[in-house]
């Protein structure tokens, strides 16, 4: 039954990339929405909102993504909610990304000088307008580099969805390896593919970061 590692296997692994990418996109989009809410709650005036969001962040940054995926998948089923793996992965990754992005963006929001908020307040802008027109555009500039950096982490993190049955890149590698017993070629290929996806993003993040530094030390 051992078969030679062949073109079909390469194709199988490469095709699995779409799951890696799809899950990353879902997690990022979900995390962006959730992260914005968390960041706003974290930097709001309401003590209750700040506390709740802090606990949320604590939990999701304080436990392994592996465990989160597992609990969401089996847990929702335990609660008699019929769910499919894609939905479970989407929910778990979204929560995970929300916690991290929320924390990154809270930092960005707080890095905007307080004078900006005061000026906007003195101009009698509403909370919504202050955030939308004054604070968030500036925070976005500060936060874009660490956000791209986190995206890399998220892409790598989707490898853990294999535990709930996703045949994404890492899992595809394991499956092919089980049939071919050729771990170096198989995992080497998998590593190279991850690198090709992640490295450009890392470089981009570093460029953005350097640009930010220049903008501030001008």
């Amino acid at each position: 039954m051992i078969r030679q590692f062949g073109p079909a296997d390469i194709l199988f692994i490469i095709e699995a990339v779409r799951w890696t990418l799809l899950l990353s996109v879902i997690a990022f989009v979900g995390g962006a929405v959730g992260g914005l809410i968390v960041a706003l709650a974290r930097s709001s005036d309401s003590i209750a909102l700040r506390r709740i969001s802090a606990v949320f962040i604590r939990i999701f940054q304080g436990t392994p993504l592996l465990m989160q995926l597992f609990l969401f998948y089996f847990g929702l089923a335990v609660l008699n909610l019929p769910i499919n793996p894609l939905l479970a992965a989407a929910v778990a990754l979204t929560f995970h990304a929300s916690a991290y992005l929320g924390e990154i963006w809270r930092g960005s929001i707080q890095a905007v000088p307080t004078g900006q908020l005061e000026a906007a307040t003195a101009l009698s802008l509403s909370y919504r307008d202050r955030m939308q027109s004054v604070i968030l555009p500036q925070a976005a500039r500060i936060g874009v580099a660490p956000t791209v950096g986190f995206l890399v982490q998220l892409i790598k993190g989707t490898s853990l969805t294999s535990i709930i049955g996703f045949t994404e890149l890492t899992r595809a590698g394991q499956i092919v390896n089980n049939a071919t017993f050729d771990p170096f070629v198989v995992f080497g290929l998998v590593a190279v593919i991850y690198f090709l996806i992640c490295w450009p993003l890392s470089l981009y993040a570093r460029r953005l970061e350097a640009r930010m530094r220049r903008a501030f030390t001008r």
């Binding site: 604590r58 304080g62 436990t63 465990m67 847990g75 991850y194 490295w199």
Partner: protein, 222 residues
């Protein structure tokens, strides 16, 4: 309807506790060694020698852009081919150190670059050697400046270590998996383990705060 049954979990709780202790020990040693690697890496990354900078740069990029799972696979199954068969627990430790060292190198480098150049010049003007300047003038303020980034990387390291069970290394996650194999009370077990990881990360956060108070307890210059 699922029937919750925590009895098997708590009957075997000592196994999980032992696993948690292994995770703490593994992460803690990896943090210390990772810090050493980070500092050395950062020095190399800011050194005059282009080759050294390039090598460390490649190390950092490769590690940061591939999943930990793949790295640990290579280390455990790959090294025996060149005659180095690491015991799974050692392999897990080495993999974690290599991994956190890559992130830590970047963080520490940013810290070193955040120390004003005037500090180095003052050291030079006082007749200190470059190594002394690094050790006594630059290092502490550099680490202080990036301490929050470093500690959250350490927490992340502790959470990532849950993956080492794949190479049969022993930790909290593998203790849970073994218990799962015996009792099949999966949901209960993972719930408890997740809570235990949360407690561990809170404990580590507390430890880091304590370290900050004792080690970096000087007022920031304006």
């Amino acid at each position: 309807m699922y029937h919750f049954n925590f009895t098997p979990v708590f009957d075997n709780f000592y196994l999980l506790l032992y696993g948690a202790w292994l995770t703490v020990r593994l992460s803690f040693v990896a943090m210390i060694l990772g810090l050493v690697v980070s500092v050395l890496g950062a020095v190399a990354r800011t050194s005059r020698y282009k080759i050294l900078r390039g090598l460390v740069g490649a190390y950092v990029e490769i590690i940061r852009n591939t999943p930990f799972l793949i790295q640990i696979f290579f280390l455990f199954f790959g090294l025996p081919a060149v005659g180095i068969a690491l015991n799974p627990n050692v392999a897990a430790l080495v993999a974690l150190v290599i991994n956190v060292g890559a992130y830590g190198t970047e963080i520490t480098r940013a810290g070193i670059e955040s120390v004003p150049h005037g500090q180095v010049e003052a050291g030079r003007a006082l007749g200190l050697e470059p190594v002394q300047i690094f050790r006594y003038v630059v290092l502490k303020p550099a680490l202080r400046n990036v301490y929050p980034a470093m500690t959250s990387q350490f927490i992340y390291l502790m959470l990532t270590s849950s993956v080492v069970s794949t190479i049969s290394a022993n930790d909290l996650a593998s203790a849970g998996a073994d218990l799962n194999a015996k009792t099949f009370a999966s949901f209960e077990i993972y719930l408890v383990i997740t809570a235990m990881y949360l407690v561990l990360s809170l404990l580590f956060s507390g430890l880091f705060r304590l370290v900050q108070h004792t080690l970096f307890n000087y007022p920031a210059s304006r």
